[in-house]
Structures are given as C-alpha cells and as structure tokens.
Subunit: 454 residues, 2 copies
C-alpha cells in the first residue's frame, strides 16, 4: 500500500511541475481522503497548500481531519478566514482538541474566534482534562438512550442522532446519565418494537475507563476485552464520551515506539523522526550518551588496575573486545526479551521466579557454547593457557550478563520505574565493566601474574 502511495507522491509532484491542472484534478478525484492526507504530508512545503486548495470543498474538511496537527496549522495559516472557519467547525471534537492543544496562546485565541460556540465549549471542556488523560483523546460524540424507552423509540432516536461522527455502539444511561450498558446497534434490531431497552441490558456492568486514566489504560482494556468502543465515565459513572479502537491502534503504536527508542537509549521524542528538529534529536540522544560515558570510563579504570597484567602479556588485550562484547550481546538479548514481555503484559513481576530458573539454564548453555567457540581461537592465537582463560571467562561473562539483562528490567519494575530504562546500551555497558573484571581476575590467576597495585 505504501508503495502505491509513494507513486502518487511522485505523480503529483510531476503534475505540479507540468502545471497540468486537469490531470491533477483527475488524480485527486480518484484518491481516498486518507491517501490524500498522507500524500499531502509527504509533499509538505509549498505543495501542501497548492494541492489542498485544488480539492473540492466537500473533501477539504475530510482530508483536513486526517492531517497531523502541525500540517493542519500550516494550512490554516495560508487559508482565508471563512474557509478556516469551515474546516475547523467540521472537525471531530477529539481532532480539534489535539489541534488546539498544540497551539501557542495567541494562535489559540485567534482560532477560538473562528469556531462556532458549541465547538468551542466542547473543545475547552476536553482541554480542561489533564494532559495525558483519557479526557484529552476521547470523542464526546455519543448516542445514549434510556432503559425504559421502547425499542421503537430508541431506534427512532438513534436514526435522528447517529451521524458520521458516531459509532456502532449505543449507550444506555439512567436519568442522571450514569452508564448502564453499551449495546451494539445491531442488538436493537433484534428485539420487538414494544420491548423496553432494559431488555438488552446484561447482568454485569459494561467495561469502562475513567476520564482521568492514562490513555494507554484505555488501549489495554480495549485490547484485553476485544471491544470496539470503550465508554469513558467521570465521577459516579456518568457517561462523558467514548474511546474507539482506531484511536487505540495509534496509541499502542506510539507506546511501542517510545519503548523501542528507550531500548536504544533515545529519550522520548513525542514527534516523528521527520518532524523532529536536529536540535531536538541532539537533546534526546546526548543525555544517555554522556551517562554511559561514566559507565564506560569505569571499564577503563578497571583496565588501568591491571596494567601490569597487560604489560606481562599483551596478547590479553586481543581477546578483550571479543569477550566483553559477547557479554554485552547476551545481556542485550535477555533484556530485550524481558522488556518486551513486560510491555505487552505477558510477563508480570510475579512471574520472575519461573523465568529466572529458565534463564539460568539458557544462559549457562549459551555461555558454554560461546566459551567453546572462542577457546578454539584462543588455542590458535596463544596456546593452551590462553584458550583455557578465554573459554572460562567467556562462559562466566555470557551467563552473568544474560542473568543481569533479565533481572534489571524486573528490578526496575519493582521500583515502579520503566523497565525499558534497561536499554541495550546500558546493559552492554554494565556487562563491559564486570566482563573486564572477570577477564583480568581470571588472567592473573591462570598466568600467575603479580599485581602490585598502584
């Protein structure tokens, strides 16, 4: 699919260059609104408003809703007032909220002036919820009926009130708008016209989420309970809005991206790689690099304590990168497995004992395999004693690093810290330090090297 969309980008750039308006019009007519939005964001720059303005008015609003907030802002800046008013008033409340919260104060004031009163009220209400709460991402376009209504009345109400913005679930609320049930529209078709809506209610209350919860909690519930829509409630279980599964797909993806970046020791970007400025990228990377310098300097310090060993047998240094890197790699593997299993909820802190036993077995087997592999190189390069040294050191280091890589995410979770802080570079750096220690301590013992200490 993305391949086709890229072709559209190339084609449209070509048509713009040729200034072939008819062909451009034809191409755009043929495309779906989501595709047009994707292509517009790829084009960027001056082509963004040029192409957008060629769209028929009806499609403009649809395409606009699918753009990321920074692209929406760029378009609004180049659009006449009347058109901007139209675009803004057609937006879903959750998209509008996302746009408004990315504005500076002055721009916010200006845009609010353009909006119809009802839209302002709804958007301001959502902006009142704390950042990173369900309230900010929910949609308040819900259709709710009452339990004592007849099916006929409920269906007539749904017919009048369900529009493009609403979804396939109808909520049942009491007179105080407290949530009683979430019922797919198709169930309303099943009952007889005179049956009360109450006959559709199930025994257990519907799964819901609090308006103040973290959006990721909403995503996890939708995933766990296989829901299409998750009602959002406030105090006293009063229905306030809804989170739909398509929002959730994007939320979970953003969460995975954050974890992914953390594992590579990159700070939380909150922006796409394309939109992020070089300075932001620098800031998000330099912190961890400098922290890790401290760890790596410790490795250097440990080496300096064994200066005499190196002077006695310089061949020791040849195997240093191999042995410490292998420890780091094994540690990276087990922390990666663990961090991801915790993130998907597959492994909880309770499971660590079960996994610990398994990890020990796997780690030692890996260590022995690696030790044997590398002892051959040792034998070839330095004789029996060196082969013995590298084999034992490799076994110990790989096994120990694996176990550390597995334990660190669990320990972080126990202390309510993000397990993904146990990034691959961090685990690798830790493995380096004790790898160097183990290697030289063994070397001193095997080769009977005297260390006087400095």
């Amino acid at each position: 699919m993305e391949h086709n969309l890229e072709q559209f980008v190339v084609e449209i750039q070509e048509l713009l260059r040729l200034d072939d308006r008819d062909a451009l019009q034809e191409t755009l007519d043929f495309m779906r609104v989501q595709d047009i939005a994707w292509v517009l964001m790829e084009l960027g720059g001056e082509d963004l408003p040029t192409v957008f303005n060629r769209l028929p008015p009806g499609r403009k609003a649809d395409v606009f809703g699918y753009l990321d907030p920074d692209y929406q802002m760029r378009l609004l800046d180049t659009t006449p007032r009347a058109d901007a008013r139209f675009l803004l008033s057609e937006m879903d409340t959750d998209d509008l909220t996302a746009l408004l919260q990315s504005l500076g104060e002055e721009q916010l004031r200006e845009y609010l002036r353009l909006l119809p009163f009802r839209a302002i009220r709804r958007a301001l209400k959502q902006l009142n919820y704390p950042e990173n709460s369900v309230g900010r991402v929910m949609s308040s376009d819900v259709v709710a009926v009452e339990p004592d209504w007849s099916m006929k009345r409920a269906l007539a109400f749904i017919r009048r009130n369900a529009d493009e913005h609403s979804n396939n679930v109808i909520f049942v609320v009491d007179a105080e708008r407290r949530l009683l049930a979430a019922v797919p529209i198709r169930h309303f078709l099943r009952g007889r016209a005179e049956d009360p809506v109450a006959s559709l209610l199930e025994e257990s209350p519907p799964v819901s989420v609090s308006v103040l919860d973290d959006p990721i909690e909403a995503a996890r519930r939708i995933q766990h309970y296989d829901l299409e829509t998750l009602p959002v409630v406030g105090e006293d279980r009063v229905l306030l809005g809804v989170v739909t599964v398509d929002d959730v797909v994007d939320l979970l993806e953003a969460e995975s991206t954050e974890d992914f970046h953390k594992m590579g020791s990159v700070g939380n970007l909150n922006l796409s790689l394309q939109s992020a400025s070089p300075f932001l990228l620098y800031r998000k990377r330099v912190g961890w690099l400098l922290v890790l310098v401290a760890f790596n300097a410790m490795g250097g310090y440990v080496i300096s304590r064994y200066e005499e060993a190196i002077e006695a047998l310089v061949a020791l240094v040849f195997f240093l990168p191999l042995i410490i890197a292998s420890g780091g790699n094994a540690g990276a593997q087990s922390s990666t497995l663990m961090v991801r299993a915790i993130a998907t909820g597959e492994v909880t802190a309770r499971d660590w004992l079960k996994l610990w036993g398994k990890e020990i077995g796997v780690s030692v087997s890996l260590g022995v395999t690696m030790g044997m592999a590398v002892s051959l190189i040792g034998l070839w390069r330095g004789g029996f004693e060196l082969a013995l040294l590298v084999a034992i050191a490799m076994t110990l280091i790989v096994a120990a690093a694996s176990v550390v890589g597995m334990l660190l995410p669990i320990i972080l979770t126990r202390f309510k810290l993000d397990p993904a802080t146990a990034s691959v570079p961090l685990v690798t750096s830790l493995a380096d330090i004790f790898g160097i220690l183990i290697y030289f301590a063994l070397a001193v013992a095997i080769f009977n090297i005297t260390i006087t200490g400095t």
Copy 2:
C-alpha cells in the same frame, strides 16, 4: 487492570488450596470471560482444568474462545468427548482455524471427528489458504445483502442473520457475490423503508484486502483508513470474509514484538516468553551470538596489529572501552530511530536524503560534545597529547557510528531485507571494529609510534 487480574490469580489459588468451592464459584461469577481466560492461562498446570470445570456450561464456551491454542489443547485433552464437541462447535471459525493449525496430524483427525460438518468445511477451507495469509486469520461470518433489495428487506435479513459472531458492518454484493460496498449497520436505519440498498452505495469501491495478502497488510490498511472491518476478497473481488480491528491490534503487537526482538538480535520466537522452552530460547539466541563473535574477533585482530603501540603506551588501552562503547551507543541510537520509523511507515526509502543531511548535523554535534567530555578525562589521566587523541577519536567515532547506524537499515531495505536486522548488537560490533581502527591509527600518528608490522 493487570494489577487487579493478578490479585484474582492469588485469590483463586488460595480458594483452591482451601477447597472453598462456594467462594470460588462466587468469584468466578463476578468475573468477565476475558479475565477468566487470562487468569486460567496464568494458573496453568492442574489448576487450569479444575477451575475451568467449575464454570457454568454457558460461560465455558465463551472463556474457551479467549484461550491461546496451547491452553485450549490442554483442556480438550482432559475434557469428556461430548463437552469437547460442544466447545469446538461454539468457536468462531478464525479461532477454530488457529487451534486446528497448531495440532499434529493424529490430533487433527480426532478433533475433526468431533466437529459438526459445517464447521469442518469452513475450517478446512481456511486451512487451505497459505500460512501467513489473510485467509488464515479472517472470519467468514459476514452478512451480505444485495443492492436491489429494499431497506426493509435488508433490515429484516440483518435481523435474522446478524449474531454474536458478526460485526457492525453489512456488505453489499452483486448476484455473483462480488463486493460492492461495506456499510455500517446504522446507515441502514437512516434510509426510508422502500429505498433500495443501492442508495447507500458510495462512488469509490470499498477498501479491501486479498485473501492471499500478508495479514500485516490488512492491519496496515485498517490502521491507515481508520476502518473497523476490512472485507477480504478473492479472485474477481468475490467477498470471502472479514478482518476486524481487534484482530489487527494483536497482529500489530506481534509485529512490533518481532521487530523489538530483532533489534536485540533475538530470532523470531513466534511464542510467548513464558511458553517458549529453554531449548527454543537457546536456539533463537545462539545464532546471532556466534555470528557476532566473528565481528568481535575482527576487532581483536585489529588490536593485535597495533601491539607495538600498546607496548609503547599501555595507557592507550584504558580509553579503548570508553571510545568504542560510545561509538556503539551512538550507532545504536540512530539505527533504533531509523528501524522504528521504517516499521511504522513514517520513513520510506525515498526520504533517506532528507534524513541523511539532518543525521550528519546531529552526529557531528554529538561527536563534538562527547569528544569534549572525554578530553577532560584524557587530560586528567594522561596529559595534553592523550587528551587530544581521545577528543579527536571520540568525535570521529561517534559521528561515523551514528551515520552507519542510520544508513544500514536503509541499505537493508533497499535490498528487500528486514531493516531490523541492523540490530543494536550488530551496529555496536561494527562500530567496535572501525572504532579500534580509528583510535589506534590516530594514536600512532599523534604519538609518532613506529609500527613495523608482524
């Protein structure tokens, strides 16, 4: 949420220990089927059938559908034939297919004997599609109407045919069952009773996916077009089934997990960390560890070429871990950013030139910062010349490793290879080799060390 579920596990284990059947019954009555399934899989072992058998017959089938195939198999093995027949016949076709495809031949024959003919036919049809195709994961429970029917007739048909297994979208097909439209049920409520279904059709054909496509393609389309359901078509656009967004959430999560593991240089597990045997884990890890040994041995070889430099100035070794590790860390960061941006479709191969310019700027800034930081340590430990060496080496290595970390995933993509193969350990190992080269080459130049070659 998961926190609460863990409490359920503890509570149920306690009730089983006390053999308090009434309290257990009460707890189970209170729980949702998805939660019971989760808890059963956590309990595992003998408690799995014990607790499952306490469930009222009506809930058994529901809970069963939410279990992973290996747990379903374990239950079927301990369940009387008649009950097993009931459980199997109540399953959704896609879940049943997932179960059947994880069975060995003998078990498959036995289970097929238990199934009603209609279910066998549907499941075998799905198993006929290639592995890792949409056909294997789709649901064939679809409701389809024809364009010349009246709304009234269509609604009556929906009322009769839409059940628990179906979804909120009704498909419109022609007499040859070719897909014409996908219409949310609520749109059927809007029209007048005598209007034809054709009045609901839109100009452009609905987004669909081919039954032979990769399931990830279906997931990406659902995400890109914000769909709830994606129709699956065969040759000639004949409607065969549907993929729903809740399947997609799990698919995308599995895809992210695979990428995540690759970045930590772990092979594709295809199983949860909990279910994977120690031997499988060993196999999925040892391959990359051994491949990386080859790279790391090259690093050792490079060092051995500079034996004389080390003998001339042993202090050179102290800074070795620091400098090569920092290069590895910077490379890890940029490959992580790149691999994820490619995976989410945010960055395509077309964009590399744009990103390349940005990455050069960021890399050099990071290199200079790191060089300055480490030159202070150099000054303190070894005087001006050493400080100069480590500063220049650090700058070059960090900048070079960042650029390599960014380019490698793009190059892999160009050659139609998985960009996530540019794992953190691989990029780190590559950075190690040329880090050592740069460092010693600079040392030889700055300290005027004569290398005779061996």
